[in-house]
Symmetry: C2
Subunit: 116 residues, 2 copies
């Protein structure tokens, strides 16, 4: 099955998890069944310039980010590190993270949440 990009809903969230500015999310799955019940999120996220996702925890699941383009500052369970295109982040159950884009260009990433 092929789902065209122009059939996809695009959502805009302001101050996500208390972060600055806004993000745009494109859900790559319509239901968790499309991950065979093994996860709950597979999305292309754009973090607008001077925007971010505030710090939040994950419990009972792992979130992975893959940075497609742009640069940003990543809070890795309390430690801030620079990230850029090509980097992968892992947030296992019991850990937290945040991400901020301080630049004038968008920061695009793939986000995947798998249970466990």
């Amino acid at each position: 099955m092929v789902r065209k990009g122009n059939e996809r809903s695009i959502d805009r969230f302001e101050r996500r998890h208390g972060g600055e500015g806004y993000i745009i999310t494109r859900k790559l799955i319509n239901t968790n069944d499309e991950l065979n019940g093994k996860g709950r999120l597979f999305s292309h996220i754009t973090i607008a310039p001077h925007s971010g996702i505030g710090f939040h925890m994950h419990e009972g699941e792992t979130e992975i980010y893959y940075v497609m383009s742009g640069k940003g500052e990543y809070n890795d369970n309390g430690t801030t590190v620079p990230i850029e295109a090509g980097d992968v982040t892992f947030t296992p159950s019991g850990a937290g993270h945040a991400i901020h884009n301080p630049n004038d260009e968008p920061l695009d990433l793939i986000a995947l949440i798998i249970y466990g």
Copy 2:
């Protein structure tokens, strides 16, 4: 944990599953444990110009492609359809697929394989 892009192995495969030309894969996970044992592949794949991945089946797993950039021809379990940046493809257990890039520009996609 952050894994930098320049710490990642890059593999080149010729005539993958009998397809033309070559593809480049960047594994976003090092072991299946990084998907909590719920899948076996999460990769950024570049299909070189005039190259492809030949038809192959998936059993006991679902593969999802997200086209990041470029255009191509996708064989969706026997039916060929055009695909382009933004499109998502699903190949559930018992189905097969192939992908070909007939153009002079690369075709880049994210591939995810989840069991079930």
